[in-house]
Amino acid sequence: MNLSRRSFLKKSGIFGFGAAAASIAQSSALEKMAFAAPGDPYRALVGVFLLGGNDANNLLIPATDDGYAKYSQVRNDTNIGIPQDDLVKLNPRNMPLASFGLHPKLTELGRIFNEDRKLALVCNVGPLVEPTTIQQVRAGTAVLPDNLMSHPDQQDAWVSAIPDPFREGGRFTGWGGRMADKIRLLNDPSTYPVSTYFSGRSLFTVGQVERALVVPFDGKLELASSGKASVNRVRDEATQALFDQTGTSELGEAYRGVFGGALANAGARKAAIAANPLPPAIAELFPPTTLGIQLLRIAEEIVAGASGLALSRQLFSAGLGGFDTHNDELTAHDELYGQIDAAFAAFYKAIADLNELITRGQLPGITRPLEVTLFTMSDFARTFSPNSGGGTDHAWGSHMMVLGSRVRGGALYGTFPDLELGGDDDIGEEGRWLPSTSSDQYANTLAAWFGITDPNDVDAIFPKLESFEVKTLNFMRP
């Protein structure tokens, strides 16, 4: 934990609990009102990592007869094809009606795409070291990301924006964390972490300085009672004193940093949530699933963050596992996409309802609108050609979803791949798409919206973006 933060909190007399923390949070809010420009919105990014490599070839499917014919040629006489009639038809801007479709379980997201125009689909995105052509791949001259198709390497490539750690000397931070390092100035003078992590790929929120607050799914981050108040008091004071020391073991000091930081921030968070709870009617919107619970917690954190903690920028990390569908993909996707549809739609409605309350002045402590953008990431897509187990193997370029009130939704971005085995977008014969959009171009679009605009900052956060002409896509309103 960085020393200045610890000494700040120590001077404030905070041991991390109760009234002391609340008064610190309150005074921060007062100071914040003096610093913030009038009308500055609160903005949050919510990254949802689909762990295991989501087969986006069954997420977004061409629905015109010609387009679908190409899809069905490979997938329909196997056990992973989706019938054309079952697709949730999409009417993307500047494309014919019903030209594409979503997986049958994504009914709510389809509605948000077609009617609200607040869901965007970004096609064929993946980590790229530099602009790469299929000719280069075939000639063996392409500079490829290291360990393509290995889960942890590609999960880290996505979240670190460093697809080639050999050349870069390793990767120890994520673009989310590096973004947090810069954007924390907008939260000044608060020293509360920019990022809060529930699940996903943990490297995402690691910065040079910033570390996420990691919160369990039940939302509780506090020291349990021993049963006796006097013991609790003595215990917690002595704990703080012990963690204020320094020692000579490097591993010991690393542990001290993590634990000490946890104590300090947990207290501030607890007080802010207690003073600014999520309205019950909004909490009830969320389904009690792995993803639903995380997004409920994130909604709680957003309300507390925007009010009691007086933050202007927050980054959240959530995750859902089970996407490594080497077998039984149809069954797996029914459950997973069903879960995504319900949880994403609930979150979208929750934020809309909160903003409604804010407009009517009925959410105490918040006067600015909450602008929240949810986006997906995944290790890779999967082979368009299935394997012998009713499933698919690891591939590369995949389709992403972006959802929120500031999204230019109802449209497809990037370039949808040619669904031809061994075709112009296939790096081999199994249907592994060479990305037409780099994950950095995708991520930088989100970062720019979040407030990262200085080219030096962009360079530091996305070191590979330099060689790409196009730095952002157009799926966010400023």
Binding site: V215, P216, E222, S226, G227, V234, V258
Partner: protein, 536 residues
Amino acid sequence: MQRNLHRLRTPVFGSLLLSCSLAACETTGPAEPPSAEDEAAIETLAQPSKPNAIRFLEQSSFGPNANRVAHVMSVGIDAAIEEQFAARRTRYTITSTHTLGAQFFEHAAMKPDQLRQRVAFALSQIIVVSQNPFKGLDDRGQAALATYLDLLSKHAFGDFKTLIREITLNPAMGHFLDQANNHAYRPNGDEIAPNENYARELLQLFTLGLYLLNDDGTEKVDNDGKPKLSYTQEQVEAFAHTLTGWTYAADGGCPARGRSNPKEWTRPMIGCDESHDRRSQLLLLEKRTREGAGAAEHLEEAIENITSHPNVAPFISKQLIQHLVTSNPSRAYVRRVTAVFRDDGTQRSGNLAAVVRAILEDDEARGAKPPRAQESKFGHLRSPALFITHVVRRLNGRVTDGTALDEWSATMGQGVPRPPSVFSYYPPSHPLPGSEILLGPEFAIMDTATSFARANFLTRVLFKTVNGTEVDLQVLPADPEGIINWLDVELLHGTMSTESKMIVRAAISDPSIPPESARALGLYLTALTPEFQVQR
């Protein structure tokens, strides 16, 4: 046999009798620099000091207690290891009342084959099967995972190549990584691209690792300073083809081409040539498999090929050191252990008993404290299961039902045996937070949530009760000074700092707390500090 030469511990100020064993009392005078004779004090494996014995038990068991410490001091390190090699192996049972995770904690807390269980636990984090994907089965994977866990403990002191062969044939592993029913042909005879899952993880995680290694555990680099891959995508595919054709055992033997037997956990998988790709494949080290051979012969060729690769020895040796002793072993330490992996002295390679002995008896692991040259970077953060069992065993814990302990371990990121994926609970290469040089694998699961979980476990086990677990706080004396001394000598093997002693002493003597809470409070505070959390 190596002798350990360690300086006498020199106190900063005048406290006497830092460590005193039955064999020898190392008394030191107040604040005197050591004389030449003092410096030459020898600590042999046969007569370990108390701190040495405690450290040995922290490395080779799930935690010391007074009896075990006394025993090790009395028989010596070497004999203690021999006894552990001979100790009766604990097996998992497929009972519906106690999950495998519960049994793990029951065994770890109380059964005598501590070293075997500890090594098996380390192996389970290298050669991983997780129970998570088995949850849909009627017994939630109990039978399947029990065979896998028993296989690891069976071979913990055995031959590494045999272990790899048996794990390749293990049905639980077959289900986990798709080695089961990975057919080369459909029923109609069409060729199908084999599933690469097992082949890839076998190479990447269980045997070679991603990069070529020197015998000292460092990565080999090319002329541009870049690490060198130990295998290619083509070789992954070659192994995938070579390992096709295996299915679950059945009384009727092999099914028709391209078909699968139903899941069955009690017997090794069977090779079915009808579903096997008999073509020759180019494996590692430019070796080709025999054209036309069947599934069993090709599997044997594959196992021989992989386990004869020079990377196996350093890749496995270093990780075992990391799990038992320290996250950042010196290159020399790794090299010494790798040498034993290559040749146990009788020209056998992969002798895990010899490797484990080499790890524990090495100068770098032994002594009253870590070697001076390693001191600041020595040790590893106790992983959740080791942290929990250590505390429980230290207090003579009786665990009749380990379910609650397993749930606590899960809140800290280590539910047993349920790692989130084949990549285990944490990667061996995870950097130490804040360092660009040192590793800290266990820190990968150390965050705000799991930090609080560690503290809250201590509150529960020390001030309240954890279901199914009884601990005895009376192993500590009642008076504050006695408590401090016990915490220093027994829990921290003599490394408690002056400041820590002051703070803990003040807390447990505080007049506002009930005196009967003093032991629990002292234990809580000490067990939460970096000095305890990092096993050194």
